[in-house]
Symmetry: C2
Subunit: 194 residues, 2 copies
DNA sequence: ATCTCTTGCTAACGAACGTTAGTATGTTTA
DNA sequence: TAAACATACTAACGTTCGTTAGCAAGAGAT
């Protein structure tokens, strides 16, 4: 038995826009493109949304919320910083793989946000990155991690994780959990055999 | 004594365009934006270039050439696949850090290339990625590397390397060589202490 | 002295852009 | 049954877009 949930028109617009923003970029996607994909006229979009940028804002800030929500289970992990880092990486990858299109927009198109949304967005990103840096700092202090540059390491970890939106396919053989595990295993233990 | 090399107007245009494409994106940068930054009228640009896209093509394919050139010294490394991988990573990072703006355009704006340039670009990228995969394959066969998914590993390595364009500052304390060394050390040996 | 090359201008082109106003129709709510 | 809402339309707005045509002034080469 399949339950069909009726999606609001606004949500349909947002989903189609996500796909288009992902493949052509925000600036190169016109309201007429979007309308055509929905089978309506461009002007009709404005019965549901206030502006083109409102769509971008909704996508970006919804994703930000998802990353924050996912962090809850990370803070529950108390058995060590390596374990905590693994949990954080898995949680992060899970969010990305749940909607790779929206993730792509989140990572690539945020710069088209206008103020004050842009500043708010960047502040959230800084805060989020700070959480990863804290795990690294704690892990280095406790002797679990090698002594590395905190920021350098954080950026390297996140870039590896974030890139998954480019190649992950939901119908592939790897589950989100498995992808996160492999990535964390790799970054924590390295490629080389000892 | 400082030698001033006179740059052609075309080159000046290309450099300003690179900066603009990097910060605003290709689609969101207008020819009038570009002209204004150069202190001339938009129409005047067309005394030097054929089209807006020609600029993007020149940036993308020049970077592609640089990545290929840099590979020469990689093939000279014959003392093992771990050493070869390190060399490849350093060479790759060196190219990126030499011009982070052009690298950003190369990585983010190539999708705005029209055919047949887009296909040519993607073919080159596939070929280049194949070279990294070959080192991985050889290293796994020789027992130097752990047995991992080849494509998965290649994508993870390259995403870490490619992200450097976002944070590397030429006036910072790390040389390109040093950045490459640290990244390869990290990906080969991992974060965790044994 | 003439020619060619570089560099830039003004004026304008047709197309596409995001968006608004005003209207119509069917559906849900009171 | 009436009011409110959801959805979509046509027509058009002012703006910006990439680009072309045609012209002009100065520099370097022959």
């Amino acid at each position: 038995m399949k339950t069909v949930v009726k999606k609001s028109r606004k949500q349909q617009i947002e989903e189609k826009a996500t796909t288009l923003f992902q493949s052509r970029g925000y600036a190169a996607t016109s309201m007429r493109n979007l309308a055509q994909d929905l089978g309506i006229e461009a002007a009709s979009l404005y019965s549901h949304i206030k502006s083109k940028e409102e769509i971008l804002q909704r996508i970006c800030f919804r994703m930000a919320e998802e990353f924050y929500s996912a962090w809850q289970e990370v803070d529950e992990e108390t058995s060590g910083n390596a374990a905590k880092m693994e949990k954080a990486m898995i949680a992060h990858v899970k969010v990305i793989t749940k909607d790779t299109n929206a993730s792509a927009v989140f990572f690539n198109e945020w710069r088209h946000l206008s103020e004050p949304h842009l500043s708010e967005f960047l502040a959230m990103r800084d805060d989020y990155e700070g959480r990863f840096k804290k795990i690294l700092r704690d892990g280095m202090a406790s002797g679990e991690f090698k002594l590395v540059d905190e920021k350098f390491m954080m950026l390297t970890i996140l870039s590896s994780l974030n890139w998954t939106h480019n190649w992950y396919k939901p119908d592939g053989s790897l589950s989100p959990e498995e992808v996160g595990k492999r990535l964390s295993g790799l970054l924590l233990n390295g490629l080389k055999k000892n």
